[in-house]
């Protein structure tokens, strides 16, 4: 029976987690570009890795790939952003007209209800107080909310810059980190790194694949239906899908409203709704299984709680980063617990014949 080190509770893990949470809470605004860069670096790393395993120097590969990616980003920024902003600006210009038209339609409906139904006037008054006025107050602000997302695009210039250094120097930092660790913690650190890499990498790649798929599918569908501003709606749906489940809902809501005012009937908004339900189902049936194959599985309640808590504490950024943060937290807790139970001999390893193998 080999001598065992006394089991120690994972206090250090809890301490690091608490320090990280405290730091993140106070610095979350400044951390946003770094978090996005981290996500982009994760996305690009497999490409760098492909060349690295074939003997290419990381620095040169990063520079070469970076030139290509920077070109793509620049072209995308030059083409997509002005077009999307133009469409949104046009939409903003037309919204007052749409609202006037909506008011006319609602007014006509109210008139009909008040004059043709018993107690109609009372129903209309109650509806006005409870629903109509607050909704109509918020309607003119929708374009401002949407345009409020546009400053996020300025990160497109900052994020690639930070990503460049992350891609170049991450392995060196990692190597130095492993080197300065006391040798008895090297295996724990590798375990943690491996789990974080798997959980976070798969999540980030998955979310970006989903956002891209929803964006492209929305654009193709909206163009096929002949809806105005397809690029703006598709961009909005794609970006919104960074927050789980929101992409299709946003696309359906904005696309439906635009279709209603464009075609002045209910058939087209219904088609838009069917399109986005189809996209959501397609995402659920085709993309999600592919993405979730190796990602961290969260219980739906944990998932929802993370979104609500993230949104409450950090706003929009909290919504975007809530789920990956919980994935990381789960990986850290899982590693800490795994090490604690094995050090403390609380769980025995399974033998090849299914019987438990005692430690001694």
């Amino acid at each position: 029976m080999p001598p065992r080190r006394p089991p120690t509770p994972p206090w250090w893990t809890l301490l690091i987690l608490a320090a990280m949470a405290w730091g993140f809470y106070h610095l979350h605004d400044a951390l946003v570009p770094f978090l996005l860069s981290f996500a982009l670096a994760f996305l690009l790393n497999p490409v760098v890795h492909w060349f690295e395993v074939r003997g290419f120097r990381r620095e040169q590969v990063v520079m070469a790939i970076y030139l290509v990616v920077a070109g793509i980003i620049t072209m995308t920024a030059n083409w997509v952003l002005p077009a999307a902003t133009r469409e949104l600006a046009l939409l903003e210009g037309k919204v007052p007209g749409y609202i006037t038209r909506a008011k006319e339609l609602v007014g006509a409906a109210q008139f009909a209800v008040a004059h043709r139904l018993p107690f109609g006037a009372h129903v209309v008054e109650s509806w006005n107080l409870k629903l109509y006025e607050p909704v109509m107050d918020q309607l003119p602000k929708i374009p401002a909310y949407v345009l409020g997302l546009v400053p996020l695009f300025s990160l497109l210039f900052l994020v690639p810059f930070i990503t460049f250094f992350m891609l170049m120097d991450a392995p060196t930092f990692l190597q130095k980190g492993i080197q300065i660790l006391p040798s008895r913690y090297v295996e724990q650190a590798l375990h943690l790194l491996s789990e974080l890499d798997a959980a976070l990498g798969n999540y980030i790649r998955g979310v970006l694949i989903i956002a891209g798929a929803i964006g492209v599918a929305s654009y193709v569908g909206l163009v096929a239906l002949g809806i105005n501003y397809p690029l703006a709606i598709a961009t909005l749906a794609g970006i919104s899908s960074l927050i789980p489940y929101l992409g299709a809902v946003m696309g359906m809501a904005v696309g439906g409203v635009i279709a209603f005012f464009q075609f002045q009937n209910l058939a087209m908004p219904l088609k838009v709704a069917v399109l986005f339900v189809g996209i959501r189902l397609g995402d659920e049936a085709i993309v999600q299984p592919f993405v979730a194959k190796h990602s961290v599985h969260l219980h739906p309640m944990v998932f929802l709680f993370a979104l609500m808590a993230g949104g409450k504490v950090f706003g929009f950024i909290g919504l975007v980063f809530a789920v990956p943060a919980v994935c990381m937290l789960k990986a850290v807790v899982s590693v800490a617990w795994d090490w604690y139970v094995s050090e403390a001999q609380m769980v025995l390893d399974q033998g090849v014949d299914g019987s438990e193998v005692p430690y001694c």
Binding site: P2, P3, R4, R5, H49, E52, V53, R54, G55, F56, R57, R58, Q60, V61, Q175, I178, Q179, S183, R184, V186, E187, L190, H191, S194, E195, A198, W339, S342, E343, D349, V357, Y359
Partner: protein, 170 residues
């Protein structure tokens, strides 16, 4: 034209990577692997330099990584009945040890101490899982070598038990 290509190749080539690839190619663990497969395997390793006298792991630690000596020397010791460490092996470049940790989470049966400044390659068990999943050809090569290693050890222990049994019955 070839000189331009050579210059370009030199510009992009990672010489440290190539040297480590040659080192891995000579290991029985990597027998039959192609160059890019060796590259993938190499990317799964972490390297660390241990100072003279530094413990890589101690007997009784829960092990989860395989170690390969890239340079330097490592001594494996095991506590004797009186508690004093007894040397069971001294390993040089190309040797691998701690492979049982890749298969099960059990305490290390020996301690490993760097006799001199040594550079080690570490393969963590979840990295092996990744290799098995994404690069099954490499995973099969690694597992085949581990199986051979275990088989050889089992045969040796079996011979020792047979010999001990025969001398006991005499």
């Amino acid at each position: 034209m070839p000189s331009v290509l050579d210059s370009l190749k030199r510009f992009f080539e990672d010489r440290r990577f190539s040297a480590r690839l040659e080192f891995l190619r000579d290991l029985p663990l990597c027998e039959g692997l192609r160059r890019h497969e060796l590259g993938s395997l190499q990317q799964s390793f972490h390297s660390r330099v241990y100072k003279e006298g530094e413990a890589l792991f101690l007997e009784g630690d829960i092990g989860r990584a395989l170690f390969i000596v890239e340079s330097g020397k490592v001594e494996l010791t095991k506590r004797g009945p009186d508690g004093s460490p007894q040397r069971i092996a001294e390993l040089g470049p190309g040797s691998l040890f701690g492979e049982m940790a890749l298969l099960e989470q059990l305490p290390r049966s020996a301690s490993a101490i760097a006799v001199e400044k040594s550079e080690m390659l570490l393969l963590y068990r979840s990295k092996l899982d990744e290799i098995l999943h994404y690069h099954p050809r490499i995973g099969v090569a690694v597992m085949r070598h581990l199986a051979r290693l275990l088989s050889a050890r089992l045969r040796r222990v079996s011979d020792q038990v047979t010999t001990a049994g025969a001398s006991f019955s005499r």
